[in-house]
Amino acid sequence: MQLNYKKELENASRSMILVQDPKVLIRLIIRLIVRKVKADHAGILLYDHEKDSYVLTISGGKTGLKIPPGFAKFGKGNSLIKIFTDKKFRPFFQGQNTLIVDDLNKMVWQQGVIGDEKEIKETLHDVGCQMAMFNVVACVPAYFRDNLLALLLLGKKSTSDIQYNEEEMDFLSALASDVAMAIQNAQLIDDLRKEVERNKSLFINTVLSLASTIEAKDKYTRGHTERVTKYSLMIADELIRSKAIDLPKSFRENLYIAGLLHDIGKIGVPENVLRKESGLTDEEFSQIKEHPIHGAEILKNLPEFEQCLEGVKFHHERYDGRGYPQGLKGDEIPVIAAVVAVADTYDAMTSDRTYRKALPKEAAIQEIEKNAGIQFNPIAAKAFVDLCSRQEI
């Protein structure tokens, strides 16, 4: 029965859309070639950046004939590769992309007509030897632009000794461009992923260096930022784990940034006030109380900080409405700020200040528990106390 190549090609293209991993697609294509085109074996050489050579990555067909995957590699200088990459050999293909073993003889004859370059003759001879060595009768290259990304190697047809016909070679050629496209797409997706990673790490590092500026100014915040961020994330994980509250997917990431930057507004508070070791005057205290607003001002023009800005701006609000800067009450206070508030207060209580000693851990935990629903969002406070009772904080 005559194979409907157009239909097979459509099927292959459909799989290409569904399959993101090029290796899975190539495996499908190799299987298709062996089963439908009835090649006794088929394999594909894929360019490997790390090895800077072409590696026989996937193969199928009869054992003993098929080239074992991962076993053989071909350097760029190998004749079988060179004949498809070196422009010198283009004229021999006469517009055709593919190479059939019989054509090699014609090429050698042609070469006699064109000239008698020793190198060309040797290369063509070597290609013939290698095709024989691998029991390969046809090669189909897969290019993207001018780069050879892959090379399909095909054994003879298992049905008869008749060579591949033109229609089959066209079909194989189309499959090869599918392969090239799949590899290229996977490469693009990979590059994009790396770019996203790079941007993300640049963003996080920028945030970290921004956070470190405040530590340089106020020695009491040294280590504080890191601990508040750590406690905040632990509370978030506990909220997620216990399903105490519905949180958006981005919550944890925003909380991480909000934790790192919650005191960034202290940059705008005079150093003598921040470093004062005796009691603060009312005026000085109101200057300190402005740091959440300063923080929000610093971040407001950066759209990336939109979600965490609320955590910075409202981390000194109280559940009973007696906090600052806006006196928000109960659920008016965003959860992100309510979480930072618990973490921030706990760390402040358990750290030494010049004007007072640190509270013991147990006393500070009791204080948080006692003030749940008064100073703190009760759900955030409960999560924190639960973590403490399990000795996780």
Partner: protein
């Protein structure tokens, strides 16, 4: 006719390599693992062994150790999957004539094998 023993736990590799070297007028035997390899080396006295490092029953290094312990000085080319310096050093200390990494450049492998057999 020179005798070559190919030891690899993958059937595809054994068959392919066998065909490859048979075409070069070499008498090729194959073994799927260490125990079988040791037996064949004993009975068949190959001129050269192509020995894979990673196999199911025992590693190529263990096969080599046992060979040398028995006093066999058969020529061995080690085939490694990764460029593991410890394995290479160990293989060298056990007197392998050469080692190659998978994936192999077959023309190089051919040269290495033929130069040992001639």
């Amino acid at each position: 006719m020179s005798k070559l023993l190919i030891v690899d736990d993958e059937q595809d590799v054994r068959e392919f390599a066998k065909n490859f070297f048979v075409k070069r007028n070499i008498d090729v035997r194959t073994a799927p693992g260490g125990a079988e390899a040791l037996k064949l080396i004993d009975e068949d006295k190959p001129d050269l062994v192509l020995l894979d490092v990673r196999m199911g029953d025992m590693t190529g290094i263990e096969v080599l150790q046992e060979l040398r312990a028995k006093g066999s000085d058969v020529k061995v080319i080690m085939v490694t999957g990764v460029e593991d310096q410890d394995v290479i050093d160990e293989a060298k200390s056990l007197g392998v004539v050469n080692y190659v990494h998978k994936p192999l450049a077959l023309d190089e492998l051919e040269q290495i094998v033929l130069s040992q057999l001639n």
